[in-house]
Symmetry: D4
Subunit: 209 residues, 8 copies
């Protein structure tokens, strides 16, 4: 991959054996650099534990890494409302770290409990880039973007039922945020948000040094 960025394997749609052999091959080619695999189901992670013991498993994020992580510059802060959004937030956090940023996580700060959100305002301000994860009505990014002027990437999740339409409602809501500067990625795409955020954080880091 592009210099500085790790190689990434999309686990979804591949057999556990395919994931293991691709990770091994990429690691052999560039042992000095991390290999990341995302969207690994339980079977894939179980297989990797056996077949590739050098790999590190990240169960909440449903990911695996192999090889040394890059040094970290700048800070990506990942914010999520509920525990159901945990896997997507965990994926975003891991991916941002693997792409060279420091990572902070803030959890349990939904729009229906504003005081918890107001209590972390300072931590939000200190981020170089925010990744805000939310399902259902997807209102959290608007509220966060109304509090601080930090670049923000919103990740809708498929958490919900009925008229949540598998995450389409949260996606649409985020695209219509009345707070300026909110950009959005695909449903459950913690990976994509984190790549964007890590690039912003790394660029910004030098400026503050």
């Amino acid at each position: 991959a592009r210099t500085g960025d790790p190689e990434v394997v999309l686990g979804q749609g591949k057999t556990p054996e395919q994931v293991a052999s691709i990770m091994a091959a990429l690691h052999e080619a560039h042992p000095e650099q991390a290999v990341l695999a995302t969207r690994l189901d339980d079977a894939a992670r179980a297989h990797l534990a056996q077949a590739l013991p050098a790999a590190e498993l990240h169960h909440e994020a449903r990911c695996a890494t192999l090889g040394p992580l890059p040094p970290a510059r700048g800070t990506v802060t990942v914010v999520a409302a509920g525990t159901s959004d945990g896997p997507v937030a965990a994926e975003a956090a891991l991916v941002a770290r693997v792409h060279g940023a420091h990572v902070e996580r803030i959890t349990d700060v939904g729009v229906a409990g504003l005081h918890r959100l107001l209590a972390v305002r300072e931590r939000l301000e200190e981020a170089d880039c925010l990744v805000v994860v939310a399902g259902m009505e997807g209102a959290l990014p608007s509220v966060v973007a109304g509090l601080v002027g930090v670049p923000l990437v919103a990740v809708p999740t498929s958490v919900g039922y009925g008229a949540s339409l598998g995450g389409i409602t949260a996606l649409l809501a985020m695209l219509n945020s009345c707070a300026p500067g909110v950009s959005v990625v695909n449903i459950d795409n913690g990976y994509g948000a984190a790549v964007h955020a890590a690039r912003v954080a790394r660029q910004s880091a030098g400026a503050q040094a």
Copy 2:
């Protein structure tokens, strides 16, 4: 209409002449009770000013009334984020009053400016029923319902562009509110929300007396 409720004429899809003559006929049949006409465009209101000088015109709400309003019991508080949502909020406020409730209005309290919302928390608590109007991402009802336990009806508006889908996004978001107890009406339907809210307010009024 049902005893206590005024007769209502839906102006949309009728000519100005039709609206005027229906209002006049209903007024003649029940002069002691208000007649309300909604969704009147500029031409319809201009015609009524000439043809039915006894009618009162409510330009922001795009409505007209004829005959005495009922006494008011209980309080409906209508909350809106932006000036673009003004006409729908005004319709809700007028309709709640015409259906026998006291009405309060709170404006300019969008989710991107939380301090203004927190500043009116007490007024929100005092309502018997809240009508919360919002367009775009439709997040305001979730935030309000996270602050106070008052019965709340959310009204999505067609304000927005692109992926706001003429109000569908706000509607879907409100239906997926993570705050419990939010009920929702059709896009731009300040009328329907206010009828529900006025019934709740009138019922509750006796309790507090």
Copy 3:
């Protein structure tokens, strides 16, 4: 949760073990107040029967409660057309009771058999708030709201096939009710409707005393 309201655990998306331990913890913190868990599948309810014998299981409603229910004030009447809508109606009934209202249930009153509906008109009138549950074409709330002027929350269900679109058709129909004052919640969201209805009923109860 807000004073008077019980703590609620959304079972969907949690393991049976997580549900049991969260319920136990909340109960320990507030033993004088009910804890409610909703959207529990068969496995979760079976686990609770073992792990938390003090909990009461509500199989039709797919819920569990732990701790004493609050005293009841005011009446929520839950109306449903068919047996397929039973689980959603049962959830609404339980939740309304847990949130402090008396509950009545009326079943088997679909729009294709009007005489059964006309026969219960008086019971509908006596409610402080109605919760009307229907799938397929979702017509029942319109018909009920045309009979009585009681505040009404409509719950679309995912019952149906083909063009019922998993409940979207019933949802859209209810939002477009030609009877005024119908407010609507998410598909299969008996919980949300009942929270709204119980608040209205409790407020109204004092008034009638």
Copy 4:
């Protein structure tokens, strides 16, 4: 056209001049049979009044006819809830007559006022085929089909706003009717419903003689 059926010109998408000359040509070819033109806007009807004085204009139905109507056999009864559905109901009524059936019309019988519907039950029973027209939530066909076992064609109309989606909501609701035997045509397609109904009525007429 098929023997017994009149020639029909779809006015929409044609200039007034085109409509007039096609009607004149068809009439000249078959002067003993009716020619029907549908979906004529005001300009088209005004032009026909001048250019084709022998044509009869049907303003509510937005149609014109030229030449003698066929004898009528069997009865199509057209039922509609509101005045806004009037043009579609009028089109259905005219088309059924032009296709050889007697026509009855029942109006102002919406689902929110059941007593008016129950009062006409006998007239519904006497029809050979019912055409039931409704907009908004499209509930009327379900209620009618629950009252009488007559073959019924439902016509959704584009009357409504917001989540009525230009008639899609009424269409979906009618397709999901819980009353058996309801068949449905396109939004605002009074024409298609009436052709089906007139065929059924004509077939049935002999049986009763």
Copy 5:
């Protein structure tokens, strides 16, 4: 049910035990009349074979009947393009017979092989009502309705993949048929089409006698 019509149990959403006991109870109440159960999966039919040996199982149609069928008057002809549409066509055929009509079936007459369709034109003409079943692009009803002037009910099926959208494409196509007089029912709803068609056929039968 309405005199002359059998009692019908919708199997979908009921346990095999529930279906068996409802059928038994209805049969006991009206032993002189047929009871019909639809949408029975393999498990339900296997259970009925054991629990209710007097019931007749209709495997292709996924239905069961109990008790004597009514005498048949008039003819419903069920037309289908492909073998994948077989179950829906079989359901329609059985239901029409159970509702008192003679039934004919025509199969393997898709729009991509017109000669087979032209070869059965006479049989199409002889029907009192046609039920035309088709999936994918749903074109068959238009072609049939262009050939004969018989009342026609179109049934879209969920056969297809990708942009067939589970039958929505066929449904939309049928609603937009350029041939007049096509009426439509829900996706895979052979039941509803057959109830309508049997009523038309029974009414028409007397006429021809």
Copy 6:
């Protein structure tokens, strides 16, 4: 543009003055080759008549050409059901000619009148590529592709109302054609279909020489 292909200006979204000056500039740069402008409204064509008298106007196709057409090889046959589809068929025919193919047109051959279609079967067979244009239920391409094995491009049109969804229904139907080998372009995109078809026809022409 690519050698052999004319320069094409998309008129939609440009002022008449912009279209005229772009056409003039392209013509000056390559006077030996045709310039084509598409999607010109009445005002644009009127302006071109004045400002660019050397341009040829094609009113039904809503296009203009300037400069000599290329020699023609191979035959594209454009088939359309109704007169409402005329402008799209005319655009396809002109564009195919401008892109170097001979063009044949067959009109008035809808699926509801099969005999007219069967009568032209031989002309369909003789084409090197077919462009089949249809609105409403979009069934014509399936029927044509069931008759002849010629490469076929289907063009859905926005002709229709209600559930035709501005051409989406015809588009979906064509994508689900049960006849193999049907490929599809955007709604009303006679231009794109003709570019594809002309390429196929030109390639095929040498083979037959």
Copy 7:
């Protein structure tokens, strides 16, 4: 089937036994010609290996063939971006060969790695028809059609998650290609694209001889 075209069996929706017996029967009737079966799941292919040993299994393409392939004329080149699109590309390649064309395959040329695509430009030019397969944002056909003027059929795949909507996004994108001459088939329909492409290639082959 049409002379020169093989008989094709759509495996989806049929039992393994049905597929085997239909293939055997067609082969017996026309032993000199290939029979093709598509959309065979693992069970169906395993059954064929036992029941019809003379059949050739094509596992990546999920197909089986029986009997001699026709001679090949002209070249269809199948282009795909990722390994996830492999099965659809393999189906297209096999089907094109079975329908009488030579086949080339180009893989791993996604839009996010343009140099790989530019490196194969000459091979793209040499094709008589291109089949371009892509999922997710479906951009590959636009880029390929911007490079070469060869007739091109685009196949959207259901590869992706969230807002890929099961392939609808790729389908819509391809229909809106800004490069002219792109025609499109249903999601995952490698079969349909290949039938179109093989017809074009066979026609074109003579021309180049």
Copy 8:
């Protein structure tokens, strides 16, 4: 607004008089800072030319500014494919400048003409943040993000017809980009993209100094 950010007035949904008076009031309150008005139609800009001569009009961007622009740090590069996307690109460029970034514009680099895009690769690399604007199939952001690793915000536009669905197709395509790190804003929302991009650019600028 937040320190450093200008006050912004959304012109859409306001009268020209309202825009002029709000701009004047904000300017008076903070004369040292820019006021920006967006989405101004021709009438609004004409009124401002008269009523507020000190305002600067930006016709392509449909905006107006009043008061001194802030100093610029870091570079936002705005990339667009076609002239139809010009207004959205111009809005993005102006807004980025008003929010404190240097701005570069690259135009006429669509995916159907890759060489023009490859020729500007170096300019793309030099940006601190990219804003990539595209309509129709929305493929440009994927191609650009495959070339350079710069943070990128994609803006779908409503340019197109038929299945472009008013920009929904481009929006969906961008959300599914196979190139990592693409974030997306609402259709035609050059404003939102630029606010995000300017924040990134300003943060990054110090780092490079």
